[in-house]
């Protein structure tokens, strides 16, 4: 099981990675630091699941989502948007662009377990089918 975590915030990426590891999930978690890096990583070595931030430099999460859904080799890849944004426009745009899930980021370490648990449940219910 391989996860590509796409996030330009080192502290957020570390928090989420820690949370996922603490669920006991046997998954390798790689990190891409922006959308451009993410697309290169996805094309080089397709993961099983992508966790995608939206607000990033060079290429946003929305752009990554549209690009990978248009790529036949990546179009069916499970993608969970993982962002601080609760904005309805972001939620709708992610939904229309065929994100598979939308989870808001933990604000601090108190919420990490819940978010990590949500992502793991998402994978167990939907991704592995």
């Amino acid at each position: 099981m391989r996860i590509l975590l796409v996030d330009d915030s080192a502290s957020d990426a570390e928090m989420i990675r820690d949370g996922l590891e603490e669920t006991g999930w046997d998954a390798r978690i790689d990190v891409a630091w922006d959308g451009v890096e993410a697309m290169a990583a996805l094309r080089r070595d397709r993961p099983d699941l992508v966790l995608l931030d939206l607000n990033m430099p060079r290429k946003t999460g929305h752009e990554v989502l549209r690009e990978l859904r248009a790529d036949p080799a990546l179009a069916d890849l499970p993608v969970v948007v993982l962002t601080t944004s609760h904005a309805d426009g972001d939620i709708v745009a992610a939904f229309v662009a065929h994100a598979d899930g939308y989870v808001t980021k933990p604000e601090d370490y108190d919420d990490v377990a819940e978010v990590a648990g949500s992502i793991r449940r998402f994978w167990e219910r939907w991704g592995a089918a």
Binding site: I91, V92, F95, Y102, V103, V115, R125, W126
Partner: protein, 172 residues
Amino acid sequence: MSRMRILRAPAQHYLAVVAFHLHQLQVDGRKVLLITFNRPYEQLKQALGEQGVDPDGLFFIDVTGQDHGHTLFLPDAIFVDSPNQLELVAMRTKVACQRLGGNVTVVLDSMNLVAQYNSLPSAQEFTHFLVNALRAQDVPADFLVLDTRDGEQLAEGLAAYVDGQERLQATR
């Protein structure tokens, strides 16, 4: 032209009657977008599956106000925090219909709860707004109303916004 109906369902065997209706829609090749104010989508999906509805042909907008924490949508469900957010329900419904493509029928369970959580005028406004939005997308919709005395009054109050009323029968 898309058809908008009020469907009056008997309180007795309500789930079985609704499940039969959804099953018939699926037999007719329709995808079902079920807006639930009634039961959380996971419970409803399981219960309907046990009644013979194909869960793969169901998509939910869950307005039951259950705490989904940080999760805002999943592949087969969108969550709206509160049954009072009717405008948001209508907007999410429009977007979900676009995403599902053609052959979608919207089923809303139930208008009794929409009116209970809000008010009859709010339920009327919501119905009017949603019906117009769905007509523009050529998506038919069935608005479920419990077939009780209160339900009869509610159905009368909504009748002006839809094309007709029918009674669902316990046929299975």
